[in-house]
């Protein structure tokens, strides 16, 4: 799967999994931070994202340091997913 396609899928899955009521998938900037500014996600969302990756891509994230880098943005998530799918 191409990174651009993963980005598109991730945006839809994030909106659905996190119940982002007022956000459309196409409104998410792939390079914007997921936490703090940007989408403004919190620690519960981080757990939801871990489950999202495991459920949809069979990717387990166990190292918290690794997670911080992976969940920087939708782009970094997609890059990580693509690297695991090779």
């Amino acid at each position: 799967m191409e990174v651009q396609e993963i980005i598109k899928n991730l945006k839809v899955q994030i909106v659905e999994q996190l119940n982002l009521e007022e956000v459309k998938p196409e409104d998410i900037d792939a390079n914007a931070p997921l936490f703090g500014d940007g989408l403004g996600l919190d620690s519960i969302d981080a757990l939801e994202l871990i489950v999202l990756l495991e459920k949809n891509y069979e990717i387990k994230i166990q190292d918290p340091k690794e997670a911080k880098a992976i969940f920087t943005s939708v782009q970094t998530m997609a890059d990580y997913v693509a690297s695991k799918m090779k």
Binding site: Q17, L18, N19, E21, I44, L47, E48, V51, K55
Partner: protein
């Protein structure tokens, strides 16, 4: 144990959030066997980050609770006490289904966190920074009444000066299915009869949230005064229920002749209402029925208390429930009698203040 109601909010099948509305133009006939709440605005009371994770019951409860505090002019109460018969059933259902579907793996935290029965009281405490007494009673048809007892005792003992108390239950697809399978719901053709004159089994299911800010001190916002509450585990007959009601009134030093109106919780089930009908027939007090307005649910007693309070404040019985024997300016003392499926009866007395 008495307390002044210094603020109240009710979210129900009708637009009761609007204080100027009082069932004008409402039909006494149920439009459906499931009475969902009317749309209400929650954005002013629930932060967007919280709102996206909040289920229907949380949105109802937090909105009703926060609105009540606003109406009472209270930023943070000393205690929060909530009653709910079924709790956050929708999130519990979601969590349990995910548990089964994913073979106990990949469970998301949100449904679990929000499925706990005390989420409503907890979220209100977080929003109001209330670190005091926080309790949620889950006791079927006596859930709200148990919460009310706790609130009154907190005030009596001086452990709290301002108590937010409420009753809340939601109606959703899994519950509707369960109620139908259990035979609790009327067939569509039976809705042609008035609920209080119904000759069929089953009832009309409802949902709602009613919250009250209670204090021992009367102020300019005071709507009415709660005189007392009594929960009854079981009654063998309407006559026995009447004896208990008279004893209750006697404890409150109120004569039966001083009760201007009885708000009866007839469910519309021809068999389960038998004792209540016998009780009513021996009363000789004007009667009105509240369940055609809100439907049957475990915390309908909270709706009834809000209705009784509003009737006293407005000196008006809504036209869609029968009470042609009452006269304006005479509605000072109201007795609420409720039950659910002929189990767990309750009595609440509310008076003008």
């Amino acid at each position: 144990m008495e307390a002044f109601i210094n603020g109240a909010t009710c979210i129900s099948h009708h637009n009761t959030v609007d204080e100027t509305f009082f069932f004008e133009g409402c039909s006494p006939f149920a439009p459906s066997p499931f009475l969902k709440v009317a749309p209400f605005e929650h954005k002013n009371y629930i932060p967007s980050a919280m709102s996206r994770r909040a289920s229907h019951i949380l949105k109802m409860g937090i909105t009703a609770g926060m609105m009540t505090l606003e109406r009472a002019g209270i930023k943070s109460p000393d205690a929060i006490v909530v009653g709910t018969g079924m709790g956050c059933f929708e999130d519990t259902d979601k969590f349990l289904r995910a548990l089964v579907d994913n073979e106990e793996q990949l469970l998301t935290p949100t449904s679990f966190i929000q499925s706990t029965h005390n989420s409503v009281a907890g979220q209100i405490a977080l929003l109001t920074k209330c670190q005091g007494h926080n309790f949620t009673y889950v006791h079927q048809n006596n859930s709200f009444e148990s919460a009310l007892l706790d609130a009154l005792m907190l005030l009596k003992e001086g452990e709290a000066q301002q108590v937010l108390v409420g009753g809340i239950d939601e109606l959703n697809a899994p519950l509707q299915e369960l109620f139908e399978r259990a035979g609790h719901i009327k067939a569509a053709e039976d809705l042609k009869e008035l609920l209080w004159e119904s000759t069929s089994k089953g009832s009309v299911a409802g949902e709602g949230a009613a919250f009250f800010n209670l204090s021992k001190k009367r102020n300019a916002n005071s709507l009415a005064k709660i005189r007392g509450v009594k929960t009854i585990q079981k009654t063998n007959s309407g006559e026995e229920l009447l004896e208990m009601a008279l004893e209750f009134l006697s404890e409150l030093a109120i004569k039966k002749s001083e009760i201007d109106l009885v708000l009866s919780g007839r469910s519309g089930d021809v068999e389960k209402d038998l004792k209540l009908k016998e009780f009513e027939s021996r009363l000789n007090i004007p009667l009105a029925y509240f369940k055609p307005l809100c439907g049957e649910y475990f915390t309908s007693g909270a709706f009834a208390l809000w209705l009784g309070t509003s009737i006293i404040k407005k000196q008006l019985v809504p036209g869609c429930i029968p009470s042609d024997q009452t006269k304006p300016n005479s509605l000072r003392n109201i007795l609420i009698v409720n039950h659910h499926s002929d189990e767990l009866y309750s009595l609440i007395c509310v008076s003008a203040c």
